[in-house]
């Protein structure tokens, strides 16, 4: 009877892995130094965890098989043992060692992730603004803006400065690295880097309301020259963004990809504390439509 459980627990994952899911397993398919550092940490921990599982499952199986009630041991009286200090010490000490073995690289990696993976290349900065339910990317140096997709140069650390114009979202590109929250009136920073040109999916990982599931974006990594070329093209061909258009984009809903040859940072930076002041927050009235709400929401000062 027990075997059913083993099958469920142990065989399924192998089936999945063998089933060719590996190349789609985003987290286990790191495409940059940040994701790779996390991948290595994950694999390091998986080893220990498998060890624990093997030890516990083995003891469990052995004890269940050996000490189950059966006709032969009908007269057997289990002894009344209180415990065993030596054993207690052993199974306290080993977990402590394991935790230490996990804690050290965890702390190292946690600190390392706050810095660009390489010193040699100058990072570029991209401001990311999450809005219901789209992602807005602003390139302050290049002075361009995109919606729902972002181009980055491969091999260059990218500092994403995250903020939100509403509910909290989480900016996650699993193949390039772990996520970070984007919050209203705040700025958080996430550094990612792609090894080579390619296209990577990103999405919001933190629930932010009705159409949250559609908050997907594409990260397009390009060679440095291609990236430059793309920037120049945008500057020359893309329309200008003005406040009116911007307010429209911010309205709750889904929009497609967009490209502009300037950024909304010219008139508002949502990362600034109270970038929108109380008095224009007249959304206490329940009957106000969504549209009116966003309007009052983002006039800023």
């Amino acid at each position: 009877m027990k075997r059913a459980r083993w099958r469920a627990v142990l065989v399924l994952p192998f089936l999945f892995l063998l089933g060719g899911c590996v190349e789609r397993t985003a987290v286990l398919n790191p495409q940059g130094p940040v994701a790779r550092m996390q991948y290595d940490l994950i694999m390091w921990s998986v080893g220990f965890m498998l060890f624990i599982i093997v030890v516990v499952f083995t003891l469990f199986a052995v004890f269940l098989i050996r000490y189950r009630e059966k006709p032969e041991n009908a007269g057997y009286e289990p002894p009344d043992e209180e415990g065993n200090t030596l054993l207690e010490v052993v199974w306290t000490a080993i977990p402590i060692l394991i935790v230490a073995a996990l804690a050290v690289p965890t702390v190292k990696a946690t600190f390392a992730l706050e810095k660009p993976p390489t010193e040699k290349v100058k990072p570029i900065t991209i401001h990311v603004t999450a809005a219901n339910w789209k992602w807005i990317f602003s390139y302050p140096e290049e002075n361009i803006e995109t919606v729902n997709y972002v181009h980055i140069p491969a091999g260059v650390p990218v500092k994403f400065k995250l903020t939100s114009v509403g509910p909290m979202n989480s900016f996650w590109v699993p193949e390039l690295g772990g996520q970070k929250y984007a919050m209203d009136g705040m700025e958080t920073e996430l550094i990612l880097q792609a090894d080579k040109p390619g296209s990577y999916m990103g999405r919001s990982a933190n629930f932010s309301g009705e159409k949250f599931a559609h908050m997907e974006f594409e990260v397009v990594a390009q060679t440095g020259t291609d990236f430059r070329k793309w920037v120049n093209e945008v500057k020359q061909t893309a329309p200008k963004l003005d406040e009116k258009k911007y307010t429209q984009i911010l309205k709750p809903g889904i929009v497609g990809r967009m490209t502009f040859s300037n950024t909304h940072l010219e008139w508002i930076d949502h990362a600034k504390q109270n970038s929108h002041h109380g008095n224009d927050h007249s959304m206490k009235n329940e009957n106000q439509s969504d549209e009116a709400m966003t309007e009052s929401h983002h006039h800023g000062e």
Binding site: F60, N84, P95
Partner: protein
């Protein structure tokens, strides 16, 4: 709120629910009237202060809530089975996962555990009731009406839709306009007050009302875990009380605690929520540990291995549970030093937890293991919970958590600990103590069917989710697009969920079947138990023990059986027994809470004030009450004892 929005409309599911609710109510009223049971309902149940009956009512509610939460879960699984499904729309899906989470944790797991502790703890410590029986009834009814208030949001006004974590500003006035999140704030507040009072009540009970000879280190393990759980409740629930109160102020009176403008700070909500929330998950797991300890020791026929280490580790876990909350938002950017510190405290919890696992394993060693249904649930807990635990440690590693956070990996983790921990424990406890509740045993054959269906279904449902998480699927998505490669695993998960649902149906059938045909327990000790609850009749007489038992060691009843052949009562030792009187006030005061709460939800402040006035009236009447209970005369006790022992 416009009148046209008062009743939720426009969804066939909701109309079906409306019809079901009306039919059920009509049915109940009809049955009660037809069988002339109104008086019985009032006298025996609604006004009772007997801990055993209160416990039974908790468990009945918990099972109903398990049904509601389970239906929510199946709806979600149906929607996610294939990409781009149109079964539920986004808004509806969001409401369903919100109510699912909230109901499962607060209105299923907690009351199930509290129900078991109500039934068992006084019996285990040789007491006649809890320290404050009246307060106990009030706790129950507050929970009941809190749960009711939360549930009616489904048909009246609209359900909350910001997740059971209700993060701001999403749950604030800026983005959530309906009354849904008002329900969340007010209903949780009402039942939370009940829980806090339960914590105080049982702490005093356990500290002060143990039978002579039962020192702290001779307490049954379940009682120990409840003691520690009470401490957690007492320090954690006030945080929830405050958090919900601030949320209510923000939503009803436009204060600026968590708003986006005027200095409000949404991160404060996340902190307050998890300062309560993490201890909360231990509030539902520590008693589960206690249940497993009792069951494993009974059916291994051995004393619990390493009792002292077991006590020490729960104290350790309880302490640590207050200093780990930040692990729920490592990704908020609090800085590497903060994240590292909370990583380490979190991982440290694995140490005492590991100690417990090994002590359970060594309790099995050299035992004589009987595979009853209760034992199967307890045994299955060990490997499944270890999977949940090790993935918990992986989540605790901040740098790695950035890749797991808010993904299906996290979903898989907490279901492996909550289901394989708490839910398995509730089922184990239900089968184990069922004779103490109803005097008969749940059918073992059906019990095992439930077990295998549910346990296998559980693994099929949740194990794939670890991989879905690693493939980038985030929690709370109402749909996903084709071509991501997520479909096969989602199909598998849905199959598992269906199996769990079937297991639950078998359990319900078992309850019905056993009530009709189940084996009556005449001995009071059907499992060859070790602790004092097995020294009473099944079900126990309402005063529990005719004379207070004297405890000589751990496993008090086991020792009695070994030394004296059982718990014997001499008729000449009997003395009149003091018992508390029933009261209808906890019930109607809780109704007043419900009315006040309903008024707050809809901002009908006049109604809220009326409710509040009745609450105050109840308090005043209680203060002036001069009812000190009553005594059961010795002759009556003799009569009842003979009847109970004969097996009524």
């Amino acid at each position: 709120m416009k009148w046209s929005e008062f009743f939720v409309t426009g969804e066939p599911l909701i109309y079906a629910a409306d019809v079901a609710i009306v039919l059920t109510m009509v049915g109940i009223v009809f049955v009660l009237t037809y069988f002339k049971k109104w008086k019985w309902l009032w006298n025996e149940w609604l006004t009772t202060v007997d801990h055993k009956k209160i416990g039974v009512m908790y468990i009945i509610c918990a099972v109903l809530m398990l049904f509601r939460g389970g239906v929510d879960a199946l709806l979600m699984r149906a929607q996610l089975t294939a990409p781009n499904m149109k079964f539920l729309d986004a808004q509806h899906y969001n409401e369903i996962f919100t109510t699912h989470g909230t109901i499962m944790i607060l209105f299923m797991a907690m009351p199930f555990i509290i129900g078991l502790m109500n039934i068992v703890v006084p019996l285990q410590i040789g007491a006649r009731d809890v320290a404050f029986p009246y307060l106990n009834a009030l706790s129950f009814w507050l929970f009941f009406f809190g749960a009711l208030l939360f549930n009616i949001s489904f048909v009246i006004g609209g359900s909350p839709d910001a997740g059971w974590t209700a993060y701001f500003p999403l749950a604030g006035n800026e983005f959530s306009h309906g009354v849904g999140n008002n329900y969340y704030a007010v209903a949780l507040q009402i039942s939370g007050i009940g829980t806090l009072m339960t914590g105080i009540n049982f702490l005093v009970t356990i500290l002060k009302m143990r039978a002579p000879g039962m020192t702290l280190m001779r307490m049954p393990m379940f009682t120990w875990t409840i003691l520690i759980t009470c401490v957690l409740i007492i320090f954690a629930f006030p945080v929830l009380t405050v958090a919900l109160a601030l949320m209510t102020f923000d939503r009803l009176f436009d204060t600026q605690f968590f708003t986006m403008a005027n200095g409000g700070m949404s991160m404060l909500w996340a902190n307050l929520f998890w300062i309560w929330g993490h201890p909360e998950v231990y509030i539902v797991i520590l008693p589960a540990f206690g249940i497993f300890s009792e069951v494993v020791s009974t059916f291994a026929g051995k004393r619990l291995f390493g009792y002292k280490a077991m006590v020490g580790s729960i104290v350790g876990i309880a302490f640590l549970s207050f200093i780990v909350w930040v692990h729920h938002f490592f990704t908020m950017g609090a800085g590497p030093a903060v994240n590292s510190a909370f990583s380490i405290t979190t991982m440290a919890i694995a140490i005492p937890t590991g100690v417990k696992i090994f002590n359970w394993l060594f309790t099995l060693r050299k035992g004589k293991i009987r595979f009853t249904t209760a034992m199967l649930w307890s045994l299955a807990f060990i490997p499944n919970f270890v999977i949940g635990g090790v993935t918990g440690v992986m989540l605790a590693m901040a740098a790695a958590d950035y890749q797991y956070h808010n993904s299906y990996f996290l979903i898989a983790h907490f279901h492996y600990v909550l289901i394989a921990g708490t839910v398995f424990a509730c089922f184990a406890g239900l089968h184990y103590w069922y004779p103490k509740m109803f005097g008969h045993i749940l059918n073992e054959r059906l019990g095992k069917w439930t077990f295998w269906l549910f346990m296998i279904g559980f693994n099929i449902c949740f194990f794939p989710m670890y991989f879905l998480g690693l493939m980038g699927m985030t929690r709370r998505m109402y749909t996903y697009s084709d071509g991501l490669g997520w479909t096969p695993l989602n199909v598998v998960a849905t199959v598992g969920a269906v199996l769990m649902g079937i297991g639950f149906i078998v359990l319900c059938y078992n309850i019905y079947y056993s009530a009709r045909y189940g084996e009556r327990d005449m001995t009071g000790d059907p499992w060859n138990g070790r602790t004092l609850e097995w020294a009473t009749a099944s079900p126990p007489v309402h005063y529990n023990f005719p004379v207070t038992p004297v405890v000589e060691d751990l496993d008090a009843y086991w020792v009695m059986k070994k030394k004296y052949g059982g718990f014997h009562v001499k008729e000449e030792d009997l003395k009149p027994i003091h018992m508390p009187s029933n009261s209808g006030r906890p019930f109607w005061m809780s109704v007043a809470f419900f009315v006040a709460g309903f008024g707050l939800v809809f901002k009908w402040f006049a109604l809220a004030i009326v409710g509040a006035l009745f609450i105050v009236l109840g308090l005043i009447l209680r203060s002036f009450e001069d009812d000190d209970g009553y005594y059961i005369p010795v002759d009556e006790i003799k009569r009842m004892e003979r009847a109970a022992r004969k097996g009524a």
